[in-house]
């Protein structure tokens, strides 16, 4: 640990600007159209890149004839996997990325790229794609997570042997890995239970649904140096991956992140960017590639569809004695960590003596799964939290009291291993219990549900520069892409440390040539890690300014203190020295030692786990199965909210995505293995009128490992909505939904099945 990470007495910290709500610095540009997104830059001589995609769920590529396309006037390059030779050893995560960017011997899903062209304009590029002849041999496919586990399922990736299983399997399967977490003895625990509920759940595949499609402008010169302008959550990661796949020197590829129109995890991963670079290298011209919405759905990275068995046992007085989860997550045609994350998060909210979670990563013929906001946690939480409600009901306790009794607290051993420090699950539950929403009256066909959620949060590698101009204004350069207003938060932090106003800070996202490596903005790390690095960079700049003041005053630097944006000489014998402001020190800097700057490179450890509890009211139309969310409240622990309005925005956005997932969003595949709804018409994210105003309550249980107590806030609140809505539906119309999304046809079918069984019971 570096001495930067010393504990600060944050609990009694008084902030001057942190915690205020100024307008975001990028706001005006975004609402006036001046902001430059992925598709908004142009280069001289730029070509248009387009990608030919497999219409088959699974097919052997016997041959690709590009000769006619190459001869078409205006076509400058045609690319197949032959132009992207394997430089990564034929296996492993980078090889999977290479295969996903451009199919090699087999197309692994509907939408898998098989060839690409660069041409002088879009019409020519489209024509050229039609001239490429691919000779496919269609292979049997599997798209369902449960079907893929069956012994006779078509094998998606020959050679796959389930990892972490003893003895090692001797046959290929679609089960890529098994992962287990937990402690205690669950068999013994279930023996102590008075009530045991076991239930199977299923969740369908969803997409992050960011409004901006993937887009980039790539340029590679004959000298092997290149530039990539791209919409991404992690330009440093994109640089490393693209350089590795294309055989470029990392330092010679400059990647600049554009403004980003939503990512939610989907832009942590490269899709067509290596192809754009490959086309540019071949054509020796800049190439711009912009995905259509259809391509985004078919060929970027949605989240996993799942099935799971959840079992929870408790005593009559409400103590959980044992809990297990068996989780199946499909990751598309490549192994991932999706099941693993599900197994780690599933019971993280609770203090359990005996717990066991087992996850299976399954391969199917669907797009390569990528992260989606608290990846894998919402599905497991749907099963666990729904079952929690069933247990609470069975023992006659309120869902909130049952959770409070079993909530994890400081010192609890988490189901995934570590022992918790100060955490916020219990305070969020207390806030829910006391919230007026919990006692508001409900109308006919209305019901209320509540549920909890957990997310780890992440810190990671971070580098930040802070430069003070001679007029006293400050350039703060960070390397984490601003996906949720972090430039505002960083400016607040720099202003707080330096003692100047928010408006005097200009926060920039540096390109890969201007800072050391920054991990991708994922795991809700932006404000936590870049915030930490900004604090330390500012403190370093303050040390420089103290030295300049000490030099001017000819006193030891130890006798200079920084307070309210000024250097003060400390002690009675210096009382005649007038404080020197940042502006004065900055103005004098050319003559006192040159530019004043601070910088920080760190691995921001101990991001601080975050918990949320949600309350949801729905109204169900029993005749149509239509469900409307009529009231929604989010309570979440933020550690310390730097910019409370944008923290609330994160809570609301996460809940909105969870509501969409719970009610209508799903990937629908046909018998032919092709995606049926690759567009926003039939992949139904909520529109404005589908959502109530989402109320929020920020709790601040400080993270002891951040100087201000910050925890990540961006992801946790997508975790509870599926179960909160499921329980609300159950309380509204009496059916417990075990399949997400709870679309109108599914709710109607459940209501009919229940009516039929009630009839059978009364007839019997």
């Amino acid at each position: 640990m570096s001495d930067n990470n010393q504990n600060t007495n944050f609990t009694n910290q008084e902030f001057k600007v942190v915690g205020s709500r100024p307008e975001r610095p990028d706001g005006i540009d975004k609402v006036t159209g001046r902001a430059l997104y992925g598709a908004d830059t142009y280069a001289p001589g730029q070509l248009v890149g387009a990608i030919l995609r497999s219409p088959h769920a699974h097919a052997k590529i016997k041959s690709i004839d590009t000769s006619k396309a190459e001869k078409l006037k205006g076509v400058k390059a045609v690319l197949t996997s032959k132009d992207l030779p394997d430089l990564v050893g034929g296996a492993g995560p980078n090889y999977d990325i290479l295969v996903n960017c451009m199919a090699r011997d087999r197309a692994l899903y509907d939408g898998h790229a098989v060839a690409a062209v660069a041409a002088i304009d879009e019409n020519t590029a489209r024509k050229a794609l039609k001239l490429i002849k691919v000779d496919y041999k269609i292979l049997p496919h599997v798209t369902d997570v449960d079907e893929a586990r069956k012994p006779n399922a078509p094998i998606v990736q020959p050679g796959t042997r389930t990892a972490n299983v003893e003895p090692a399997p001797t046959k290929d399967s679609n089960i890529a890995a098994r992962n287990q977490f937990g402690h205690g003895d669950v068999d013994e625990g279930f023996k102590q239970a008075d009530v045991i509920i076991e239930k199977t759940y299923k969740t369908e595949q969803t997409h992050q649904g960011y409004i901006e499609p993937h887009a980039c402008l790539a340029s590679v010169g004959p000298d092997g140096s290149g530039e990539l302008w791209v919409t991404t959550q992690g330009h440093y990661t994109f640089r490393t991956v693209c350089s590795t796949l294309l055989g470029l020197d990392i330092a010679k590829l400059k990647v600049t992140s554009s403004e980003i129109g939503g990512g939610f995890g989907g832009k942590t991963h490269v899709w067509m960017e290596p192809v754009a670079l490959g086309l540019s290298r071949k054509a020796n011209r800049p190439v711009k590639v912009v995905m259509s919405r259809e391509e985004v759905f078919r060929a970027s990275g949605p989240t996993a569809s799942t099935s799971m068995d959840i079992k929870i046992g408790a005593t009559r007085d409400g103590r959980i004695t044992a809990a297990t989860a068996d989780l199946r997550y499909q990751g598309g045609p490549f192994p991932g960590m999706w099941g693993l994350l599900g197994a780690m998060t599933s019971f993280a909210c609770y203090n359990l003596p005996n717990v066991k979670t087992v996850a299976w990563d399954i391969l199917v013929n669907r797009p390569k799964v990528a992260a989606y906001r608290a990846p894998s946690a919402p599905m497991a939480a749907f099963g666990v939290e729904s079952t929690m409600d069933l247990v609470a009901d069975a023992i006659g306790m309120s869902p909130v009291d049952f959770r409070m009794l079993n909530a994890a607290r400081e010192g609890t051993r988490a189901s995934y291993g570590p022992t918790y420090g100060p955490i916020g699950i219990l305070p969020t539950l207390e806030a829910v219990k006391n919230h007026p929403h919990m006692t508001a009256p409900l109308g006919p066909n209305q019901g209320r549900g509540m549920a909890c959620g957990f997310w780890f949060n992440f810190g990671g590698q971070t580098a930040t520069d802070l430069n003070i101009s001679t007029d006293g204004t400050v350039n703060l350069t960070i390397g984490t892409v601003d996906v949720g207003g972090s430039r505002a938060s960083m400016s607040l932090i720099a202003a707080e440390e330096l003692g100047i106003s928010y408006d005097e800070i200009k926060c920039n996202i540096g390109d890969t040539n201007s800072l050391g490596h920054n991990d991708t903005t994922e795991g809700s790390r932006g404000t936590f890690s870049s915030g930490m690095a900004t604090i330390f960079a500012a403190r370093q700049a303050i040390d420089v300014m103290r030295e300049r003041a000490a030099q001017k005053w000819e006193i030891p630097v130890e006798e200079v203190e920084w307070k309210d944006g000024e250097a003060h000489a400390v002690g009675v014998h210096h009382s005649n020295l007038i404080p020197l402001s940042l502006k004065e020190i900055a103005k004098a800097s050319p003559r006192t030692g040159g530019p004043i700057a601070g910088h920080n490179e760190t691995v921001a450890d101990n991001a601080g786990v975050s918990f949320a509890s949600h309350i949801c009211d729905v109204e169900v139309d029993p005749e149509t199965g239509s469900t409307r969310v009529i009231r929604y409240t989010v309570v979440q622990d933020a550690g310390k909210a730097i910019h409370p309005q944008y923290v609330e925005g994160q809570f609301q956005g996460a809940a909105a995505q969870g509501i969409g997932w719970a009610l209508n969003e799903e990937y629908i595949y046909g018998e032919d293995g092709r995606l049926q709804n690759a567009g926003f018409l039939d992949y139904r994210i909520p529109v404005c009128s589908d959502l109530p105003f989402i109320d929020t309550k920020i709790l601040e249980i400080p993270n002891p490992d951040h100087p201000y107590g910050v925890r990540g806030v961006g992801e946790t609140s997508i975790v509870p909505p599926l179960a909160a809505i499921g329980s609300a539906v159950s309380n509204a119309v009496g059916v417990r939904m075990d399949h997400v999304p709870m679309s109108p046809p599914r709710i109607r079918a459940a209501l009919k099945a229940q009516a039929a069984s009630e009839k059978a019971v009364s007839a019997g």
Partner: protein
């Protein structure tokens, strides 16, 4: 691709008649342009009819209303007289697309696009709307239900286009309503829908009725048995049950990404029941 913007309907019909290859009429473009951009259609000729004055206006006639083929949904929604006489037709048209789409989309475009899920079509049929067709051989008037023959298919012959839609006068004892089911609250396409138009006689007893379902068959379905079930009644529960049963029997939907056969069938009947109640109330029934 050739683009023409004639100023008379006759000229437009001649262009369409003489066209070689694929010719399309452009009014609002909310279907056509989207398909062209998506690469689903590559027309050889596009005839923009928005400069033809006859297509741009809503006229009150002796027998009712004439609505030009390029009158947008938003414009129709601002016409108080049509809205008063045919609230169901106007509401149905206003459901097409989003606010932005409403500024461009047209009833005739909705009709000629020939989607089984078109919102304005069941409402127009229920109201007894007629289409004024102009072609190389002159003008003819055809009931709206005769226009669509299947998904994406119409009975219009080469060179023919619809200049306007005419609606009857309506009246104090006539009420219409249209309801559709969508999983969202807007920006969607009907999973199933129902339009009901009815006329009350003495003592508020239903004298005439038309019940039309959408998105439950290749074309909008008129259900005479459902109409019969409520004629002679004051829309009591038995009449509504009989209407719903007749509607369910008339459904012939498909299973697809938007809904199952079972769901569409049941919900179409639910919507017909609800639409009948609204229409009854609008006709002055109690």
């Amino acid at each position: 691709m050739r683009y023409e913007a004639p100023t008379t309907t006759k000229e437009a019909a001649n262009l369409l008649a003489k066209a070689k290859g694929k010719a399309f009429v452009l009014a609002g473009g909310t279907d056509l342009l989207v398909r062209m951009k998506a690469g689903m259609l590559e027309p050889d000729l596009v005839v923009d009819i928005k400069r033809i004055p006859a297509t741009r206006k809503v006229t009150k006639t002796a027998s009712g209303f004439t609505i030009g083929a390029s009158v947008s949904g938003a414009e129709l929604g601002e016409n108080k007289a049509v809205k008063k006489a045919w609230p169901g037709v106007v509401e149905a048209t206003e459901l097409i697309g989003s606010d932005q789409v409403q500024g461009r989309c047209t009833m005739v475009g909705n009709l000629c696009n020939a989607s089984p899920a078109a919102d304005s079509v069941p409402a127009m049929i229920a109201a007894g709307a007629k289409a004024a067709i102009v072609g190389p051989k002159g003008k003819r008037s055809v009931a709206v239900e005769k226009i669509v023959t299947g998904p994406g298919k119409t009975s219009l012959k080469k060179g023919e286009m619809i200049e306007s839609i005419s609606l009857p006068k309506g009246g104090a004892k006539i009420g219409d309503a249209y309801l559709r089911f969508i999983p969202r609250t807007e920006m969607d396409i009907a999973v199933c829908s129902a339009a009901v138009c009815l006329e009350l006689g003495a003592k508020n007893v239903i004298k005439k009725a038309t019940v039309v379902l959408g998105a439950v068959a290749p074309t909008a379905v008129t259900v005479p048995a459902a109409a019969k079930a409520i004629i002679g009644t004051k829309l009591d529960d038995d009449a509504l049950d009989a209407l719903a049963a007749a509607c369910e029997a008339a459904c012939n939907p498909i299973d697809d990404k938007r809904g199952t056969i079972e769901f569409r069938t049941e919900v179409a009947a639910v919507l017909a029941r609800r639409a009948a109640k609204i229409a009854f109330e609008r006709a002055g029934g109690k």
